[in-house]
Symmetry: C2
Subunit: 657 residues, 2 copies
C-alpha cells in the first residue's frame, strides 16, 4: 500500500522541561497530591472510600496474599495508569522514593504474570480457564494495553527493563493467540486501547510484529460474520453486563462496520478516540492510506459536527456516547474528561501524520477547557462529566441530569478520569513540539525548554518564555552547539488574528510564512537568537453552527484558548434571563482573588427581572421588565471552585437584527 | 371535623346531549372506531399486535377456558376501562349490540369473582394464596378501583345491577380486609385509584362505608412505620419490579408522607392526580377540611409551578414523574395523555368543592390541548408523551428523547392512554355543567342541551349553541316547564378579555356580574329566553414565568383555549432559527384543508439563514444573516397529522428591549 505520510516525531519526554507560570502548578499537583493520594487509594488506605483492591488483586495473583478478586473486570488498569503517570514524572525529574514504590509494584505484577505470559488478575483469580472467551465485554485486551503503555513509559523514564519484559512476554502471548492464521482466535477487543499501546511497544522495541498485531486488531474490527456474536454463541450465550447489551449494540464500541468504512463519530466517546488514536498512529508509522483516510474522515465528522466549544465530546450519558450530528445539548451533555484526553491523543497522532494546525487547535481547546476543568484547583476533586450549563437544583430532580454533578467529586469515588488526568499532565511536555526532518513544530505555548536532536546528530535547545494563556506574548531563545539551519514552525491558533513575529527584533510578515496553520520561520540559528511571537488576545464572541439548536441565539466568549462562562457566584441566579448585547464592549480585568489570579471578562448586560411577576405560570400579552446589570465571565476551567451555583457557557444574545 | 364545603353536583350523563360541530366528531370516533377496535384488541384479534390476553385471563379465571395468565399485573384494568367507556356511551345513546357484548363480558367477570368477593385474574391464576401481599407494587386495589368505576358507569347507563353487585361484594371484601381495626391489614395501594372509585360507589349506593373506606386509604397513606417496608419484610424481601425500586422510592407513589402534609406535586403524575381526585372528592362529599386544604395546596403547586401551557404534567420520563418547581423542559417532557386526563378528573372534583373558574380554566386547557393531541385525527393512533418541541432526527439518537415519539403510535401498542381517552370523551358531557342550589354553572362551551332538575323538582332545559373553540360566540336558549328563578353562571375564561353578555338582546355589564370567574346571571327564566355570550378570541402572546428556563426569551401563541405551534410542514426545517417579532401583527385565517378545516395563525417572522455558514462548528465574530419569512401556526392538538417533522410551541421572540 502506498505510503502517504512521513512521520512527524514527538520529542522524548526527558528532553522537555516545563517551567511555566500556568502549568507548573497543575503538574506539581499531580506529583505532590494526585499520585501519592492515588497510591493510597489503590492500596485501600483511604478512610471512608470504597476499597479499590487493585493492588491487592495483584498481590493475591502473585501469591503474596490470600483472598479473592474484588472490583471491576478492568480493575488492573487503574494500577497501570498510575504506573504510567509515575513513569512520566520520573522522566522529567528523578524521585528515588517514588521509583522504589514503583519497582515494588512492578515486582508484584511480574509475579502475577503466568508462565505463558498471560496477565490479568480478574481472569487469573476469578474465572481461571475462561480467558479470551468474552472479549466484547470483559476488557482483557484493554487492561493489557494499559499495562503496555505503563511499561513503555516506565522503561523510557528509568531504563529498567523488568516491566517492559513482562509486557513483551504478554504481547508475544497475545500475538500467539490472535490473528487470521489457522488455529488462532480471530477476535478483537470490546474496548479499544491495545491498538495504540502496541504501536508504542513497537516504537520502543522496533519489533514490527507489534505493529502488525495492532493493524490486525484494527482491521479485524466490525467484520462479518461478527466476532461478538460468534464468541457469544461459543460460550453458550452468557454475558457479563446486563441483557448482553454491550454485545448487541455494536455502534457502542465502533464495531458496527470495518473501521475503514466508518465515517461518523458514534458510540462510546472514549472507545472512539482511543481507536482513532491507534488508527492515526498506525497511519503515521506505516503510511497506510486506508487508515489515514478513515482517521481523517472520523476526525472531521467529530470536530465539525459533534464537539462542544470546550473540546468536550459525547452528547449523552447513555453509553457515554456521541449522539447525532449537531445534537449538542449544553445541560444534559456528557463530555467526559477521559474522552477529551483521548481526543488529545488522537490529535497528537494526527499531527504525526500531517502537521496541520487544526489538530493542535483542537488539542489546545480540549486541554485548556474540558481537561483542565476536569480537575479542581485542589487536585483532589474531579469532574467526569463537564456540562456547559448547570442549574444545580434540577440536577437531583430531573432524570435527564442524573449524571451531571454540579460540584467536583473526591477522586476516589471515580476510577478512570483522575488517573487519566494525571498521566496526561505528567506527560504534557510530549504535546508541545514535534520534529519532521529539519522542521521543529511548536504546537503549544508553555514556558520551558526542549532539547532537540536533529537528524545529523546536531543538538539545539529551544527556550520558550510566556505567560500564556493569560498573555499571547511568547519569546523563543535559541541555544545551539553550532550554527544550525532549521525551520521553526510556530502555530498561529485558529482564534488569533493579526499575529506578529519578530526575529532578533525585526518584524516579519506572518502571512507570507504561513503553511497549514504554522508560520514557517526558516533560518540559520545560533545561541542567543530570539523569536518573539505576539498573539493578540481580544475577547472574541463565538457563535455556533446554525444547525446546532442549543447555541441558536446565543453567544460564547473566548479569549485566547480559554472559553469563558458565567457563574452564579459573580452574576446571581437565573443566568437564563441575562442577555448580552452584541454591540457593547467587554473589558478584560485581572482578578487576583480568583484561584491565585486570572483574567476575567466584565461588561454590561441586560437582565429580565424575575421579581414582580407574581404567581401565575403563564401570562398573556406581558412584557418582562429588564434592567442593566454588570456581568463577569471567568474561564470555564475555573468554574465550580466557589460553592454550588448556576453556570452557563452559551449566553443569550441581544442581537441587532 | 368542620364542614367547609357545600357540594356542587355534576349532572347525570344521560341528561346531557352533545351535538357539537367540534366535539361530536371525536365522540363519534370513540363510538365507531376506538371502542370496537379496542374490543378486538382485548380479544387478541388484531393481526400483528401483541396479544392482550385481558379477556382471556377473565375467561380462564371464570373456568370457561384453559390456559395461563398473560400480561401485566394490572391487565384486568384494560377490560374495566373499556367497560366504563361503554357505560358512558350507553348513557348517551342506546346500542343493543354493544350492550349485549358488554353483558357477555360482565357474565364472565362475575364468574371470575371468587366466593368471598375477591376479583383479580393475576392473583387468582398466577399467584393464588398471595393476594394482598404486595400492595406497593402489584396494582390489586388499582384494578379493583377501575372495575368499580366501570360498574358504576354501566349501572348508571343501563340500570342493570349485575356488575354493580359484583363490585359491591368485592368492595365489602376489601372493607373486611383493610382498616385500622385489630386483625385487619393496615395497608394501602401502590397506585392510587380505589380512593376515587369508592366515592363513586358511595354516590350510587349511598352506603357510607365506602366513603369511610376511601378516607381510610387516603389517611393511611405515607404514615410511619411505613406500610411498604412492613409488607416487604413480611413477604421475605421479594419484589415484583426490578431492585424493589417501587417500594424504596416513596415519592414515586406519593407515599413519602401523609397526604395532609403534602404540599408539592411529586412522583408519578397519574398516581398524583388520581390521588388528588379522591382527596378533593372526599372533601366535596364530607367537607373534610384537611383534605380540602391539602387538595388545594397540591393543586396550586401543580398548576403554578409544574404544568405546561398545554395542560400537560410530568416533566420527565423517569418514573413518568414531576421534576421540581419551574423545571419544564419542552423537548424531554413526559406530559402523559393519561396524566392530563387525571388532571381533568381532579379539576372536576375541585369544582365540586368550590365553583371557581381557575379549575375549569385548567380543565379546558388540558382537554383542548394535551388530551386532544393524545389521539390522532383517525382515532387509531395515540401519543403517550406529548412534547412541546420535537426534532425528529434526534429522537432515536439521544437517550434523553428515548420516550418521545415524533408520530402517534397505533393504539394497540399501548395499554393505558387510548382507553383513558375513550372514557373521558365518552363522558365529556359530565364536565360541562355543575349545579349548586339554584345556580347552574357552565364550565365548558360545547353545543347541545342539558336537562337540569332543580331542588324543588322543577326541570329546565338549557340549550347551548356555539362553534367553539373556533368562535367565542355562544348562545344559550332556555326551555322551562314554568317560570324558573335561577342563576346561570357562565365561566369567563382566563384567556378572555372584554367578554360581552346580552340577555334577550339586552347588553349587560359583565364586570358587575363576576364572582370567582363566573358571570352570575340571576333571572326568572321562561322558554325562549336567550343569553348570548361573546368571548373575543384575538391571538394572545403568552410568556412563561421568569423562573422557567425553558420559556425564557420565547413566546407561545394562544387563541381561545387553543395553544398553537409551528410545524415543519408549514414552516420548513430549523424552527429554532425563527424569531417572532414582538411588534408585528398576526392574522387568523381559515385553513379548510387542515383536518377538515380549522383556524390557523399567520404572520411574518425573521429567520436566521442556515446556508452559507460553511463547515466550521464554531465561528468568531460572525453575524448570522437573516431573512423575512411567512410563518403559520396550527393548533397544537392538530400536530403530527401530516408526516414526520419538527414542531415547536415556544418560539424565540425578537423583543424590543
Amino acid at each position: 500500500m502506498e505510503k502517504v505520510v512521513l512521520k512527524t516525531k514527538t520529542l522524548p519526554l526527558n528532553k522537555i522541561q516545563i517551567n511555566d507560570p500556568f502549568w507548573s502548578y497543575y503538574i506539581n499537583l499531580v506529583r505532590d497530591v494526585v499520585i501519592p493520594y492515588q497510591w493510597e487509594a489503590l492500596n485501600d488506605r483511604i478512610p471512608d472510600a470504597e476499597p479499590s483492591s487493585a493492588i491487592k488483586n495483584f498481590k493475591i495473583a502473585a501469591g503474596e496474599e490470600e483472598g479473592e478478586f474484588h472490583g471491576m473486570v478492568f480493575q488492573d488498569s487503574d494500577v497501570a495508569k498510575w504506573l504510567e503517570a509515575v513513569g512520566y514524572l520520573l522522566s522529567v525529574e528523578s524521585d528515588e522514593e517514588l521509583e522504589k514504590i514503583a519497582d515494588g509494584i512492578i515486582d508484584i505484577i511480574a509475579k502475577a504474570q503466568l508462565e505463558d505470559g498471560y496477565l490479568n488478575t480478574y481472569y487469573t483469580l476469578k474465572e481461571p480457564g475462561k480467558r479470551w472467551t468474552d472479549l466484547s465485554e470483559c476488557h482483557e485486551l484493554y487492561c493489557a494495553g494499559h499495562m503496555i503503555e505503563a511499561a513503555v513509559a516506565y522503561y523510557q523514564a528509568t531504563g529498567k527493563r523488568k516491566i517492559l519484559d513482562v509486557v513483551i512476554k504478554f504481547a508475544d502471548h497475545i500475538d500467539d493467540v490472535f490473528g487470521t492464521e489457522p488455529g488462532k482466535l480471530r477476535g478483537y477487543d470490546g474496548h479499544q486501547e491495545i491498538e495504540l499501546a502496541l504501536i508504542k511497544l513497537y516504537e520502543v522495541t522496533s519489533n514490527d510484529k507489534y505493529l502488525r498485531l495492532s493493524q490486525y486488531f484494527l482491521e479485524e474490527r466490525g467484520r462479518k460474520p461478527h466476532f461478538y456474536e460468534e464468541e457469544f454463541k461459543k460460550r453458550g450465550g452468557t454475558y457479563h453486563w446486563p441483557d448482553s447489551w454491550m454485545i448487541r449494540n455494536k455502534e457502542y464500541s465502533q464495531a458496527h462496520k470495518p473501521v475503514s468504512e466508518q465515517d461518523k463519530a458514534v458510540g462510546h466517546a472514549v472507545r472512539f478516540v482511543y481507536m482513532c488514536t491507534g488508527m492515526a498512529h498506525l497511519a503515521a508509522e506505516t503510511g497506510n492510506r486506508e487508515m489515514y483516510e478513515a482517521s481523517k474522515r472520523l476526525w472531521n465528522n467529530m470536530v465539525s459536527k459533534n464537539m462542544y466549544i470546550t473540546g468536550g465530546i459525547g452528547s449523552q450519558s447513555h453509553g457515554e456516547a456521541f449522539s447525532t450530528d449537531y445534537d449538542l445539548p449544553n445541560d444534559t451533555v456528557y463530555a467526559e474528561t477521559c474522552a477529551s484526553i483521548g481526543l488529545i491523543f488522537f490529535a497528537q497522532r494526527m499531527l504525526q501524520v500531517e502537521p496541520n494546525s487544526q489538530y493542535a487547535d483542537i488539542m489546545e481547546r480540549a486541554l485548556y477547557n474540558t481537561v483542565l476543568a476536569g480537575m479542581g484547583h485542589d487536585g483532589k476533586s474531579f469532574f467526569y462529566v463537564n456540562p456547559l450549563e448547570v442549574e444545580p437544583h434540577v440536577c437531583g430532580s430531573n432524570h435527564i441530569y442524573h449524571h451531571v454533578k454540579p460540584t467536583r467529586q473526591r477522586w476516589f469515588g471515580c476510577a478512570c478520569c483522575p488517573p487519566n488526568v494525571a498521566r496526561l499532565l505528567a506527560s504534557l511536555g510530549q504535546y508541545i513540539y514535534t520534529v519532521r526532518e529539519n522542521t521543529v513544530y511548536t504546537h503549544l505555548y508553555i514556558s520551558g525548554q526542549a532539547e532537540i536532536e536533529l537528524d545529523d546528530n546536531r543538538r539545539l535547545i529551544l527556550e520558550q518564555e510566556t505567560n500564556y494563556p493569560w498573555s499571547g506574548n511568547i519569546q523563543f531563545t535559541i541555544k545551539a552547539d553550532q550554527e544550525t539551519e532549521l525551520t521553526l514552525a510556530l502555530r498561529i491558533p485558529d482564534w488569533c488574528e493579526n499575529a506578529e513575529i519578530s526575529i532578533n527584533g525585526e518584524l516579519k510578515s506572518v502571512s507570507a510564512l504561513m503553511i497549514d496553520g504554522y508560520a514557517m520561520i526558516k533560518g540559520t540559528w545560533k545561541t542567543g537568537d530570539q523569536i518573539n511571537l505576539v498573539l493578540p488576545m481580544p475577547v472574541v464572541r463565538v457563535k455556533g453552527h446554525p444547525l446546532v439548536r442549543h447555541t441558536a441565539g446565543k453567544v460564547a466568549l473566548q479569549r485566547g484558548p480559554l472559553v469563558y462562562c458565567l457563574e452564579e457566584a459573580d452574576n446571581g441566579q437565573n443566568l437564563h434571563q441575562i442577555l448580552l448585547p452584541s454591540d457593547r464592549s467587554l473589558e478584560i480585568e485581572e482578578d487576583e482573588n480568583l484561584l491565585g489570579g486570572m483574567k476575567v471578562i466584565t461588561g454590561e448586560a441586560i437582565k429580565r427581572k424575575t421579581e414582580n411577576w407574581g404567581e401565575a405560570l403563564y401570562k398573556p400579552n406581558i412584557h418582562l421588565e429588564t434592567e442593566s446589570v454588570s456581568i463577569k465571565f471567568i474561564p470555564y476551567f475555573a468554574w465550580a471552585n466557589r460553592g454550588l451555583g448556576e453556570m452557563q457557557v452559551w449566553v443569550n444574545e441581544k442581537e441587532t437584527l
